[in-house]
Amino acid sequence: MTSIERMQRILARKPVDRIGLFEHFWGDTLSEWTAQGHIEAGTSLEDHFGFDIQNAWPFNMVARLDYEPEVVEETEETILTRDGNGALLRQHKQHDSTPEHVDFLVQDRAGWEEHIKPFLTPDPRRIARETYRDTRRLAAEKQRLFCWAGVNVFEMMHPVCGHEYMLMGMAMDPDWVKDMVATYAQLTLDLMDMLFEEEGLPDAIWFYEDMGFKGRPFVSLDMYREIIQPAHKATIEYAHARGLPVIMHSCGYVAPLVPGMIEAGVDCLQVIEVKAGMDLLELYRDYGDRLSFMGGMDVRTLYGNNRDTVRRELEAKIPVVKGNFGYTLHSDHSIPNQVSYETYRYFVDLGLSLGSYT
């Protein structure tokens, strides 16, 4: 069974030979493992570990495409820049990290209408065609599931106005946020039309939407249904109309939103962050008949590089969640460089062994 055959069946919860395999890594993990001689320089993680999925991120959704990020302040450790969304971002220079959003030009509807909305046009320069084309060709050669990957509306809005203004806007001026949601959803669909018409369809769509944090989602299920779900429905219906299954990523605790995500048409939920409170076994019990899963293995069990701890985590979950043929092995977030190569290798080997159906 090829990776693409396997993953297409896993996303539809149909019998396969083994569970799927994919992973995300911190940027410095690959360089460290390569420097240690575990991975040959120039070899991809997909090739080295035999991942079943290959992603390409071809869209640039920043508002002002021509805006050169302006350095406002630079210290030994951080750099402060104004980006094309009008956001002031502080980034660490020494290590990988999500940037701090310091300030925003957009704090309400007027700011959105002045600084962002007019620029959100389906400009061909937003599409990295070569990236998409090359990755698509590579995935086909390797017979991996090729995913168009990108953010959906929740993850497009907060880089423009920040979580606090966005979430207050949902309460104070929901029509403003609905306008942002509709604008970004339409732009996504317009760009997908342009790309897929010229370069061909992917095998699946992978949306990244971080809608939760520790112990709770950012919004209630009601607010999700009213404000965000229309965009999820529109973009997922677009994919389904072309025969493409949809994987949706969310960090944080989003269990209360899962019924709404299923209504929107999500085929597979990824990443199921244990430290935020997500429980893979509970989700499988409640939604395993309607949803495939990827992730949910507590990455903290790999930090100590103790095989017994890793084994207990895998043995507690894989025999259960493989039951619906809809599971893909993945940590509950990503693998940092404190995890040794040997530990991750063990995680993969044992996970796939436990996840075999033959």
């Binding site: 450790e77 951080t78 502080r90 980034q91 660490h92 290590h95 990290s97 999500t98 940037p99 701090e100 979580h163 606090e164 979430l167 207050m168 949902m170 309460a171 104070m172 001026d173 944090f213 520790k214 112990g215 709770r216 989602p217 950012f218 919004v219 209630s220 607010m223 944080g252 209360p256 430290k275 935020a276 990455v299 903290r300 930090y303 940092p336 404190q338």
Partner: protein, 222 residues
């Protein structure tokens, strides 16, 4: 509690900032915290009562509902905004000593970590709990926390981290803070944290949500 203090508490809990605010929709056109606190002061209500029996009650109610997943971040943000509208009127009373804070809460995200959503929610709830908050921001070194503790003797310290790679920096901060003031209470929180980790690094308390920090302090002070 007087009727106006009850109204202030309700408006604060519901996030009703002022009469012009469209939120919450079912309170459109009604006075909000802004007008009610102004009116209470004009009527001679003690600013301390406005704080403790009005604003703090409202924030405590919304904080508890947030802990129980009955309300979500937008509700908490709106409540905090409403509380700020009230606190603006109380500022002269704090400046003159007619009203007093419960204490000083020094908060920051630890060194190497640039995330601030969790820290900001805690800041809002501590302000709503009657504390004067000194927000050191993000990527705060142990030395910066120590300086703040020296500047605000008797303060409570809150450390936040989102990343497993940065939460380890909490230990050094706790150590340095305790070295200059062993009685200083240090509270920790953030996505990767656990009670076990908090115990290991010598923190006084861990809470998975902002209300838990306030509850701990209420118990500790009792």
């Amino acid at each position: 509690m007087s009727e106006i203090l009850e109204q202030i508490a309700t408006c604060c809990e519901r996030g009703k900032m002022n009469a012009g605010s469209p939120y919450p929709p079912d309170m459109r056109g009604q006075d909000g915290v802004d007008e009610l606190v102004r009116k209470a002061l004009d009527d001679g209500v003690d600013p301390n009562d406005i704080l403790t029996q009005g604003l703090m009650v409202g924030m405590s109610n919304v904080g508890r509902k947030f802990s129980n997943n009955e309300v979500f971040v937008p509700d908490l943000l709106m409540a905090a905004k409403a509380m700020t509208a009230g606190m603006d009127h109380l500022k002269p009373a704090f400046d003159s000593g007619a009203a007093t804070h419960k204490g000083v809460f020094v908060v920051g995200t630890v060194r190497g970590d640039l995330h601030d959503i969790g820290k900001n929610l805690v800041r809002m709830m501590m302000e709503g709990g009657g504390y004067e908050v000194v927000d050191l921001g993000v990527d705060v070194s142990p030395e910066q926390f120590v300086e703040a503790v020296k500047e605000h003797p008797g303060c409570v310290v809150g450390l936040s981290a989102l990343l497993t790679t940065t939460m380890v920096n909490m230990e050094e901060t706790v150590k340095q803070v305790k070295a200059i003031d062993e009685k200083a209470k240090v509270l920790v929180g953030g996505a990767p944290l656990t009670q076990e980790f908090a115990d290991k690094i010598g923190a006084d308390a861990y809470s998975p949500d902002p209300q838990g920090a306030l509850d701990y302090l209420a118990t500790a002070e009792a």
